[in-house]
């Protein structure tokens, strides 16, 4: 009796195991497809030139070399563009976090006329293509004599980074119940004291997330810097990297090494905040 029932019971289990294997294999495939380009960049960056220019690609950088990295660093203007990028990124991050904090505070805590219209405006600006705004921005910057100056780029970045920072920070502040602050004030704290002791610690993760977001945006931006900064010693790292290909042919090893160096700081910070970014764009869209 039992021996006859066995095959029936076993079949679903085997099918389930087969399914597991299939699902996992698919997962590995997705992983490989998504990470292969990144791997290929790092792999190429460590390969000597002879292995890069080979008709059968080598999948491991063996023997490995640091030559490509030294080539990239020795390339004209490398230290200039790194310095410029750091200046732009530093100023943009600092200013946008401070300004966004104040604006988000106003939006989340105080009611004022046209508040809803303002929020819609913030979202709208996020939707307007940079390629559309670059034309009027360039005309405005040329009128203000800000072309080919880092300050012109910084001002422009702020207009793009701010809306998102305000939007994200506001999400954090709405989450802080009013009663907490009121309770602190009832207990004898001043408005400022309540602000420092209650609100600030609660939105600190938001501040970190927005500053990293501003950092990544300013570091990655290409088109504005490309248009505004014309002299090579004033450009930022992305413009420098995009101009790597020359008419004499491309030094792929150097390019991949430079690309690795460009991506490194972003990867480091991105790992810390990607959850926040996804959250900020779609917050509240799904509520069980």
């Amino acid at each position: 009796m039992s021996s006859r029932a066995e095959p029936i019971a076993r079949r679903p289990r085997r099918r389930r195991r087969l399914r597991r294997v299939g699902v996992n294999a698919l997962g590995v495939l997705v992983f490989v497809v998504m990470t292969f380009p990144v791997y290929w960049m790092v792999n190429t960056a460590f390969k000597p030139g002879i292995d890069i220019q080979s008709y059968t690609p080598k999948f491991f950088p063996h023997p490995a070399t640091l030559r490509n990295f030294s080539d990239a660093i020795d390339r004209a203007y490398f230290w200039d563009v790194v310095k410029n990028s750091l200046v732009v990124v530093g100023v943009v991050t600092l200013l946008s976090v401070v300004l966004a904090f104040l604006a988000a505070l106003a939006l989340a805590k105080f009611r004022f006329y046209g508040r809803r219209a303002f929020i819609v405006l913030v979202i709208m600006v996020q939707m307007v293509p940079i390629t559309a705004l670059i034309i009027p921005l360039y005309v405005l910057l040329s009128r203000a004599h800000q072309v080919d100056k880092l300050s012109g780029v910084i001002i422009t970045y702020l207009t793009f980074v701010l809306p998102f920072c305000i939007w994200t920070l506001r999400g954090f502040m709405i989450g802080v119940p009013r009663e907490l602050e009121e309770a602190a004030m009832v207990d004898g704290s001043t408005r400022f004291g309540a602000f420092v002791r209650i609100l600030l610690p609660l939105v600190a993760p938001g501040l970190v997330a927005t500053s990293i977001f501003a950092f990544i945006q300013a570091w990655n931006e290409y088109i504005i810097a490309y248009v505004v900064l014309t002299s090579p010693e004033k450009q930022t790292i992305t413009v420098w990297l995009a101009g790597f290909t020359t008419l004499r042919g491309t030094d792929w090893g150097g390019l991949m090494a430079a690309a690795t160096l460009t991506a490194l700081p972003v990867v480091a910070f991105f790992v810390l905040v990607h959850r926040r970014i996804a959250f900020g764009l779609t917050a509240g869209a799904v509520r069980g």
Binding site: W40, Y55, V122, P129, I135, L162, Y222, W252
Partner: protein, 279 residues
Amino acid sequence: MIAAVLAYPLYMLVRLSFEQYGLREIIAHKGVWIGTANYAQILHDSQFWTVAARTVLFTAVLVTATMVLGTLIALLLAQLGPTMRVLITTGLVLAWAMPVVVAVNIWYWMVDFEFGVLNWALTELHIVDFERHDWFVSPWSGFAVIGAVIVWGAIPFVAITVYAGLTQVPRELLEAAAIDGAGPVRTFRDITMPIMKPLFVILTSLSIIWDFRVFDQIWIMRDQRPTTDYYTMSIYAFVDAFRVSEYGLGAAIAVVMVLIMCVVAVFYIREMVRVGEVR
């Protein structure tokens, strides 16, 4: 104050589109009002219509690919065990973190006609003989490569967000559906989809907005001087303004882009208001 800072460039854009604004005006810092002449010119320009149609087609294909693949990966994530899930999420985040300029250069290298790994793999696997094949000779295969860079970069955001949404779907509903004999496809269509609809609307509108305005990928992939075969509306507006120095004309094209985007933005904002995010 902030509202003014944000709105002023938009106002300038619209004003420029009604002006003759060339090299002389850039130096004089003053445009000449010419009414709707710029619009008349682009609307009677057959190249503009080709470019517009190409941009719409390009956007439609990319958004569909991004949403379908992203959702499939999210569903896959939900099926996997925790170890595999962390592994794949890490991979997704790594791809997501690549700056656009870096990503374009990597793909450019992978499809290099001489030493590119893709041509080698396709030839080696006997799919097609692509030895010394140049992907950019035909704009179709060129756009396929550009599209691949964009979709590859956009999938992580969609997949991770949809996965986060999937975990919010109440288990009881799914179990009840399974007990009632619904298969996985049916469950997805009748339970998961309706609950996640707001999220899908938002993600799709965002993807449309992002893909419609794509500039960097095409521009850098074509060595910062694309031929007319590779023009999309962003590129066209940019070239008219910064290469031909017809800033008014470029602005008019940009205004048309913004108007098209507004239609999409309406859906996005309406959904945001409906789910109570804009209060």
